[in-house]
Symmetry: C2
Subunit: 413 residues, 2 copies
Amino acid sequence: MIIVKNVYLNGQTVDVLIKGNRFEKIGTGIKEDEAQVMDASGKAILPTFCNMHTHASMMFLRGVGEDLALFDWLQKEIWPREAKLTPEAIYYFSKFAILEMIRTGTTAFLDMYFYPEASIKAVDEMGVRSVLTYCGMDNFDEAKTKKEIENAEKFLSLKMPSQKVQKGLSCHAVYTVSEKLIKTFKQMARDEGLLFNMHLSETKKEVEDCLAKYGKRPGKLLSDWNVLDEKTILAHSVHLDDEEIRLIKKAKSVVVNNPISNLKLNSGQMPLQRYSDEGLRVTLGTDGVASNNNLSMIDEMKVAALSAKSKADDCLAAKVGSIFEVATANGFEALGINAGKIKEGYLADFMLVDLNNFALIPCENLISNMVYAADSSCIKDVFCDGKCLMKNGHINGEEEIIRDFKRACKELH
Amino acid sequence: MIIVKNVYLNGQTVDVLIKGNRFEKIGTGIKEDEAQVMDASGKAILPTFCNMHTHASMMFLRGVGEDLALFDWLQKEIWPREAKLTPEAIYYFSKFAILEMIRTGTTAFLDMYFYPEASIKAVDEMGVRSVLTYCGMDNFDEAKTKKEIENAEKFLSLKMPSQKVQKGLSCHAVYTVSEKLIKTFKQMARDEGLLFNMHLSETKKEVEDCLAKYGKRPGKLLSDWNVLDEKTILAHSVHLDDEEIRLIKKAKSVVVNNPISNLKLNSGQMPLQRYSDEGLRVTLGTDGVASNNNLSMIDEMKVAALSAKSKADDCLAAKVGSIFEVATANGFEALGINAGKIKEGYLADFMLVDLNNFALIPCENLISNMVYAADSSCIKDVFCDGKCLMKNGHINGEEEIIRDFKRACKELH
């Protein structure tokens, strides 16, 4: 048991009692003889972030080939490095990615990248939550389809080390994956009660190509293929028409806003406010660092708000309260994790922010400060599932994680 | 004399000798018996930022009335507080603003707010550079015009404590200031060789109202009034037509990109890449915290790049090298300060960033990392004019500055 003493929560100073992995009691003057007491005077307690779309291990590509034209970037910089990837490298890259997530207040992420089996140990050791997905991409080659299904079966047979690490399946996108593989993966996920994840309508070109090939838009296509349900997560979802919005809403599928990546690659801007108004389940993600170039959900919230106001042509769109919820509670809800709120009974995923950090002063509106003014220097302590992952800015083993990451990067050159 | 030893600069490890307030020598194995040696192993040296448009003392308005409709915001939250402003409050607010600037790597700013005379001492004590301007706003009231001219004369008669603190004049905007006051202030500035600063074409409404009132657009109006020259700084400059771009270019006036504020208030997006291609002198600024909500030029660079790519409809627009230059060298050049580059003979305004900070790893492209991945936690040391303002994350007197700021905020409630 832990008591977080004298912590600022919604305008009051309270004590928070954590029993096991949950918030047991929130109130004043809480006493428990057996509890470890942590004085949090001058700090506020907030839920941590849930990063709903990333390729965590892409850390080795941060800044690589920046501002090159797409094909040069892929051919000269990205593909040669990715070709050398090994499960061992992915393990080190994942650990470093999670280090950055912890420093920026994230304790859960939905991931899609190579060798997800190698990330399992990294997630477990770092103590965060993740849904790791095997990502299918057959490029419409039937031999590859078969191989991908085998790979997925193998991945799904793996035993996970704890409840915090979950499995899921992804298909890359409608322009890289066959109907057969998409339908099969979704059915496999459905059979096991797992999440299914895809990139959807990231660019106008994707929509145009899909119309040319299938005679319908990507969202309509997935609906007709019976892929949409409440366990389907659709990254990007920038270019949806009215019908697709209706279909996704009806199916209760989840869309993920990735505003920084969408702007950086000039893919377009999600109409976040409209989707929220229409009742879509909207969440937030950073995408991989190659198109961001960090995993900070704080940066992502700021750009999400700015981009949504611009897209809605309304400076009152995307209010700070809703943006913060999109980045926290909405994500956890989408992953089926009972976290994202500082509330009795919820899982104890939380951060303590320093109210004497310059960016949080004055504290007229803490949530506004978090969305628009904060950065990682505000975050002092991070807990996941009741366990402390960062204490007063210190993460155990950080130097080693960085050293191993740098070495693994060198080996890809 | 100071030797910054073993510091990373453009892919090499060098020593940097600072003599007085300038970079004397950059090379390897520099020895000077009398010099103080500062080991900078594991750190990189970069120029500091120049924030070309802000209202620094607005710090007390951070998060105040967030997401209220404009009129409610002004009438219920902003104006009642601003009405209580005193020179003493401005002094404390300025100091706190400069604290945030130092922590985020800025050593020079162009300011426009109430009681600029009260900021002089703050700038001097904090050790940064500033052009503080008296800002005229007569609302087309002749009595007020006269009073504003008197106020400006009084401000211009003040003695500045050092070369680092400079005077200038501002007029708020064409929709709040009379022709007479704009022309008079510009002439007064010209007579003294000082900078003249205005908001220009921030919103479409400003342009439409100007067309309705004067039969021409704001930039054309200023040109016809002989206000444009190389010492005129035009904040925002979002909505310029071809003729205005040509006139501003010909006059060598400076435009300031404020992408976060422009998106937050839904004013529009400056076509940064086009302005650069046309040869305009483009710089970067945060605007005040009420519409940002911080003074971080790192945040501003990231959003500037993202916004410019979107506006240009080209993901190869606004490359990291040019964005970094806009935020550093271009600003100093516009203020007539020989800084913004790590180069022999230049003024020693610089920062040391921690190459072991998660956001700067890997270091494939340090400038890309600074534009897209960094935050204040990367910045360890900040120097201005050869003097250390922040040493390994420590700023002298920080606690007192924060305490005084909080107290002064309370007095406005």
